[in-house]
Amino acid sequence: MKHASKRGFLNATLIGAGFAVAATAAAAQTLTMGVRGGPESMDPHFSALGVHAAAAKHIFDTLVWSGTDLQIEPGLATSWEPIDEDTWEFKLREGVTFHDGSAFTAEDVKFSIERIPVVTGPTTTTIYVRRVAEVEIIDDHTIHIHTDGPASTLPNDFIRLFIVSSEAAADYSTPETAAEGFNSGAATVGTGPYKYVSWEPNGDLVLERFDDYWRGMGAWERVIRQEIPNDSSRLAALKAGQVDVINYVSSVDYLALQNDPDVDSVIGDSVYIMNLQLDQRDQTPKVYDNDGNVMAENPLQNPLVREAFDLAIDRDTMVEIVLEGLGQPANQLMPPGFFGSNEGIPGKTYDPERSRELLAEAGYPDGFEIDLFCTSDRLPGDGAICQGLGQMFTQVGIDTNVNAISRTVYFPAQAAQEYSVFMNGWGTLTGEASYTLGGLAHSNDPDLGLGAFNRVRYVNEDVDRLLQEGATTLDADARRAMYEEAMALIVADRAYIPVVQLQTVWAARAGAYTFEPRFDEDTLAFFIRPAN
């Protein structure tokens, strides 16, 4: 497990080679990006939000880099390996300098890791270092990370662990001083491709190229990340020539862009998969008999009923009609190609006849009534998918009341387990299974720190065993096999029913730029190159 995957490494080399050419071709240029969301602070350790990390990646680097397909590659660390049950050795890259000219050493890594629990905000970044017990500096370019027990996914935890300068940030590492020090730029010193110039909350982030960047010089002398949250306004800004590249083009606009010669669009697969979730408790609050009374026993515990739900979903229609083609039918909880995704799981079928039969076999020939809850403002198309599901369930005899609501209402209620049948997106942001299966499918166990998002109280002892073993198995191939097996079991149980995998669209002025979409949907200036 020295280098994560061959494919990932190859990618990095190719991109690197492309850059050497691009950098000389277009030197004195500015790239203006219109993005939907931006950072919450210039302190990279304040928030674990995706948009926060995407902005931080311009200024700061991580030990472990996650490539476009989210598989891990060397970053500021050139290699890593477990040297005993609870110690990982990281070799650090030599010759890397910070924006202020000082050298990057093991001291900066130790400082950054120890700083996180002190300065983190509510979207806590302590998840990156939750397994770290102690950081030991061996020499300037070697560190040992001691963990609390075997931590097989430690390198994956580090993909958003940003390294700040231990000198520049020394005085700005308490909750009171961190925001001030970093927002003013005094402490915003990283090893990343761009130097900090200015930032306003919800406004523009202005950056300047760092010429001594270790990956090579970026293509743009100046980068401006403008926050434009409204989808239509962002597209208008692109069409008016105010910005060069935008992210998150809506599916409706995407259709219109097909006929627009001035705009290029790029489609990327997203890590987000919409999952239908069926409550497995003995008593469930939002399932009713045909007289409208809450049912005494929970029909969702019956595997026949769960299969009936699954067969009632017409995923192709969902993709073609509801998402305007911007998605893919999903058959498991993670996109294909991720660490732990199981290629042997067959595609889902749509069979409303069989679905009705199964309901009858299960003892519900006249169906029953459910309240279906979903988010409507979190991911593209979530509200529409919800309505689609409602119609499909109603067609097989499950009378469905659709509630597509704001995430601010949905998540607290979902956490309090007020729902019986509900759907929201889940993104495998780390690119590997322990994050997704450990959070969703392990039985809820605060002591083990597993199953925190198992809001349906799904319990399968074989799954629990596999996930616990996986978390402590350092051999990557053995671990992969365990997660693949667990995935197959979870999909067969159907307490979680994957519906569709989403896709995201970027747009840019036609013929001017090339870039590869990333699974985590980050829009990174360093990896956007001038065409030709």
């Binding site: 806590t124 998840i127 409204n230 239509s232 208008a236 800004a237």
Partner: protein
């Protein structure tokens, strides 16, 4: 007059206190922000720590008490999301909203009253009929749609004006303003028009209705009989007499636009407070929501108070009633 001021001030304090309780309890009822912001792979211990840090483990009354005792000293707490003091955050966004709103409300009022008085003075002329027809349009077309059409026309198709953002700013007294630069003005034009349309329509209707009514009164007849010129009558008598409803509406509109210019700010990516509050609601950033709503309550109280004072200055009848 002094009694009137004191009574109004006491009322204001009561309104503010009631508002703070309603806002605090309302925001509390929406749910726990930690459920929205916590990362999916956080353990229970990490979650508990986050809750404790934000003080959300305390009972409601204790949270409220801490909030009130700090707020009285001018400290509204720190934003959950940005980790900077809430007042600083709001103050950094207020100038942007302020200049946008003042420009749009004032130009809507000046233009609206002029057009409205004309339409009321010559109700039968073709121009008046056109003005009234357009004002119906201003009322009935939703402003987000108008905003998008403005962007499509002037920014995307014609390329005359920018599609959004604030443009260049100049710093005066430590505050950044964009209406003093040419680039800033070009950025402010479209959102200001978008915001002004509805108000313009309303001002036209108000001024017209007032004019038609006043023109038939004895005051105007006597003024004409006294041989005053039409221009003098309009300026000295008519404008004064139609001004009471216009000032009331002006005050209310100023307040509500300042507080809720959300739609326009979002469409034009204008970095004002409206956008801030919407973003804060999405992530349940309680300190910002509470502080903002309470400041808005204070704003309305102040505006209403000012409007009452202005009445007293303009209208001798109001003054007489108050001092009696």
């Amino acid at each position: 007059m002094r009694g009137f001021v004191i009574k109004r001030l006491l009322q204001a304090v009561v309104v503010m206190a009631a508002m703070s309780v309603i806002v605090f309890v309302g925001v509390y009822a929406i749910g726990n922000p930690v459920d929205i912001v916590i990362p999916p792979d956080a353990t229970q211990a990490i979650r508990d720590e986050a809750i404790r840090r934000l003080g959300l483990d305390r009972p409601l009354w204790e949270q409220y008490w801490i909030f009130v005792s700090n707020a009285v000293q001018g400290d509204f707490g720190r934003s959950f999301v940005y980790n900077i003091p809430v007042l600083e955050l709001i103050a950094s966004r207020l100038p942007a909203t302020l200049e946008l709103v003042l420009i749009s409300v004032i130009s809507a009022t000046v233009l609206g009253v002029a057009l409205g008085v004309y339409a009321g003075y010559r109700p039968e002329s073709r121009i008046s009929k056109t003005i009234m027809a357009l004002s119906v349009l201003g009322f009935s077309v939703p402003s987000f749609w108008v905003g998008l059409i403005l962007i499509l026309t002037f920014a995307v198709s014609l390329g005359w004006l920018p599609a959004g953002g604030r443009g260049d700013t100049v710093e005066i007294l430590g505050i950044r303003w964009s209406f003093l630069t040419l680039d800033g003005l070009s950025h402010i034009a479209l959102p200001a028009i978008n915001l002004a349309l509805f108000k313009l329509a309303m001002m036209i209707r108000l001024a017209r209705a007032g004019t038609r009514e006043i023109m038939l009164t004895d005051t105007i007849k006597f003024a004409r009989a006294a041989g005053l010129s039409e221009a003098t009558i309009l300026r000295r008598h008519l404008l004064k007499m139609i001004s009471i409803p216009i000032i009331t509406v002006f005050g209310l509109e100023l307040g509500s636009t300042l507080a809720f210019a959300v739609v326009t700010e979002t469409i034009f990516s204008w970095p004002g407070v409206g956008k801030l509050i919407i973003d804060s609601i999405y992530v349940l950033d309680r300190p910002v929501m509470v502080a903002y709503l309470i400041l808005i309550a204070a704003l309305f109280v102040t505006i209403n108070f000012t409007v009452d004072l202005v009445f007293a200055l303009i209208d001798p009848r109001v003054r007489a009633r108050r001092s009696a």
